[in-house]
């Protein structure tokens, strides 16, 4: 929902909203890796948590409803790393294609996935 008054979608305090869903999921390995990338890359000076938040906000409200929390985070981490020149879009695109060719599951797509598809990464 666009707002002509300058209030942005992420600024949620006081909005009407329904009951709070208390469901909890356990974090997948790939999500923990995203979290680790956030801590390590910000610690190494590639971006600040402020830059991370800014990129998340710039994604717009659709991202909040269609992407999971860590999907948005890896998108934001990548946005920040691209902006700072850590790697290029071409390098990223090329690598993502290579990864897709490695196998159909997260485990199989690791660089040194064993013959049994186990994850040594």
């Amino acid at each position: 929902m666009s707002d002509t008054t300058g209030k942005r979608w992420h600024d949620m305090g006081g909005q009407d909203a329904g009951p709070i869903c208390a469901d909890q999921h356990d974090f997948a390995l790939w999500e923990k890796r995203v979290d680790a990338l956030m801590v390590l890359c910000s610690g190494a000076g590639f971006f600040t948590v402020d830059g991370l938040r800014r990129a998340l906000e710039d994604m717009g409200e659709d991202a909040f409803t269609t992407m999971s929390y860590y999907e948005r985070w890896i998108a934001s981490i990548n946005q920040n790393l691209i902006e700072t020149g850590a790697y290029t879009l071409a390098e990223l695109g090329q690598r993502m294609d290579e990864i897709a060719a490695r196998g159909p599951t997260y485990a199989a797509a690791q660089k040194d996935a064993g013959a049994d598809g186990s994850d040594h990464g």
Partner: protein, 219 residues
């Protein structure tokens, strides 16, 4: 609503339980997604370019896994039994946590105490700021629109949903973590706990009681 996997019910024996005792989500064996490919690509590129090592990534995951509400519970229990520690905790919760040996990094931590007159509730309306370096990763509900929108406007209705109703004589004090501070609630020690040792007291301290959406258990 944020995308989630709650309607999946998988049974995999690919070894290793998550620290909560539940199996990892089945993502390892589900179809590889665009964002998972991005995570792998980003990690590999950053390692190949010498900005990170695989060991650092693993070590950071382990570091984060070691952080859980049990750490906060230990801090709370010590404050319950040791008045001088309690004073130090309320003056500088970061220093007090480090004093107990917890590796909380650069966290600016503030402890706010519940009394008969005041009950504290923590939220981050703008994103999902949380004292993760002490308590571990926040619960999913803490990051939802529903919690972030309503906690600042109708905290009593929110607490009622969590099963907590406070008397009108208690003031609710909501903290919106908008900047660099992170908050942990120091819940009041439950009645009937005289004579319990620190470990037994810590076992009563729930994660929700340190966010403010619950009270500690009673023995």
């Amino acid at each position: 609503m944020p995308h989630d996997h709650h309607d999946h019910d998988h049974n995999h024996d690919h070894g290793g339980l998550s620290p909560s005792g539940h199996p990892f989500r089945a993502d390892n064996d589900e179809a590889l997604t665009y964002w998972q490919r991005m995570e792998i690509a980003v990690r590999e590129l950053m390692i190949e370019k010498g900005h990170l090592t695989a060991d650092q990534v693993s070590a950071q995951i382990e570091r984060m896994d070691a952080r859980s509400p049990a750490n906060g519970a230990a801090v709370v229990a010590r404050a319950w039994v040791d008045p001088a520690f309690r004073a130090r905790l309320l003056a500088d919760a970061g220093a007090a946590s480090r004093e107990m040996g917890f590796d909380i990094g650069p966290l600016h931590l503030i402890a706010v105490e519940n009394t008969a007159q005041v009950h504290n509730l923590i939220v981050c309306t703008l994103c999902s700021c949380y004292p993760r370096n002490l308590l571990g990763l926040p619960p999913d509900w803490y990051k939802t629109r529903e919690y972030r929108a309503r906690a600042v406007r109708e905290p009593r209705a929110v607490l009622h949903e969590f099963g907590l109703d406070l008397p009108d004589s208690t003031t609710i004090r909501v903290h919106d973590s908008t900047a660099d501070m992170r908050y942990i609630v120091l819940p009041a020690r439950p009645p009937g706990t005289d004579g319990l040792d620190e470990d037994a007291l810590a076992a009563l301290v729930t994660r929700d009681s340190m966010i403010g959406t619950g009270l500690p258990r009673t023995p």
